[in-house]
Symmetry: C2
């Protein structure tokens, strides 16, 4: 009975995700689902990426939060086209929320759409939003054992961004060991090390995002 | 339909939580539900607390994780009575999982039971486990805006532990401002500032835990 209901929800979600995918394709927009723990630096990464790519691509943002519009406020202060979704207690975005947000964004003026999911390393992993890429951000103070503890997000990510490298000297995070173990559980994902504070690594990450935009646009 | 099912689940959970509460009372055990984002320092706080209270109380631990037994391993290496629950993808502990764990713990040898919930600032807030106290841990690198973004856990906590004060000089966290805004949303909660690395603040936190144990035991 419970399983039946869950199946229905997921199947409805997948249908709307498919609609989102078609709409994004018709507008030549690449959508990136950004997922992480609370406070890992999703919004800061978006701000840095917009800065790095401002001559190359127009970026829009869907901001997902349980409550508040703190992050959409930060983005909009920086002149970024952003729309806030409050889930009202919900622990992840779903395709239908993104569908509503898409209807309220100037899609003809966007090349790359970042969808900042709710801060949660578990639940967002189960919901297709119609995105092209799943990107997980892990911040160094969280520790290097997180892929083992939260396998779904880490094994299905297209890219992993290790953020807050500026804190590496002060926290318990073995970056070399981490690279090896992460490659062991996810061979296909690109791995970036960045600092939202110093800007380290943002150029490499931005170059990868642009490369992926090219691939999405040249796909038939 | 969905709401109906959810109601049934919560009502079944509350019944089992009540059973847990009765079992804990019969054994004079105080149970503390520890909740935080991934990597905020729940396990380290438990290790430090056991060290601080070792002459005063016998501590047992229920370890909740989506996957892996890394944390239970750390505890058991330190000689602490611990049992691991893997939720297998589930984003929070529920009363039934705790009920099974209780059946496998030497309850006559435990005064304080820490229940380390799954790393998640959202979902654990909806599930009563039969605990006496809800304690939320927030680590300074996560930022001082978290209570506004994840209101349920922060407004219902009996205590908030701000961890990783050793990183305050390196991160963007205004502790004085945070104290004021947190008191504004939760007047009743005790607020502690600690460092799992240096041990700062652990004595005050430990004294509060012992005070609460006294209250639980003297309640009729």
């Amino acid at each position: 009975m419970e399983v039946k209901v869950l199946k229905d929800i997921l199947s409805a979600n997948n249908q709307i995700a498919e609609q989102n995918r078609r709409l994004l394709a018709s507008k030549k927009i690449m959508a990136v689902n950004l997922m992480s723990s609370p406070g890992a630096g999703k919004t800061t990464l978006i701000l840095r990426t917009v800065e790095a790519l401002k001559e190359k691509a127009r970026i829009g943002v869907i901001e997902g939060d349980v409550s508040s519009s703190i992050d959409a406020g930060k983005l909009s202060q920086a002149g970024i086209t952003a729309i806030q979704i409050n889930t009202g207690g919900g622990c992840h975005l779903d395709a239908s929320m993104v569908n509503s947000a898409l209807a309220n964004l100037p899609l003809d003026e966007i090349d790359i759409l970042f969808i900042e999911n709710v801060g949660n390393l578990i639940c967002p992993g189960g919901f297709d939003l119609g995105e092209h890429l799943k990107v997980v951000i892990l911040s160094t103070p969280e520790g290097d054992d997180k892929p083992h503890k939260y396998p779904l997000l880490f094994t299905t990510a297209d890219a992993l961004v290790v953020n807050k490298t500026d804190l590496l000297a002060h926290v318990n995070f073995d970056l070399d060991g981490f690279r090896r173990t992460f490659k062991g559980i996810n061979q296909k994902a690109a791995l970036f090390t960045v600092s939202g504070v110093t800007g380290e690594g943002i150029r490499e990450w931005g170059a990868w995002v642009m490369e992926k935009l090219g691939e999405v646009r040249s796909a038939k």
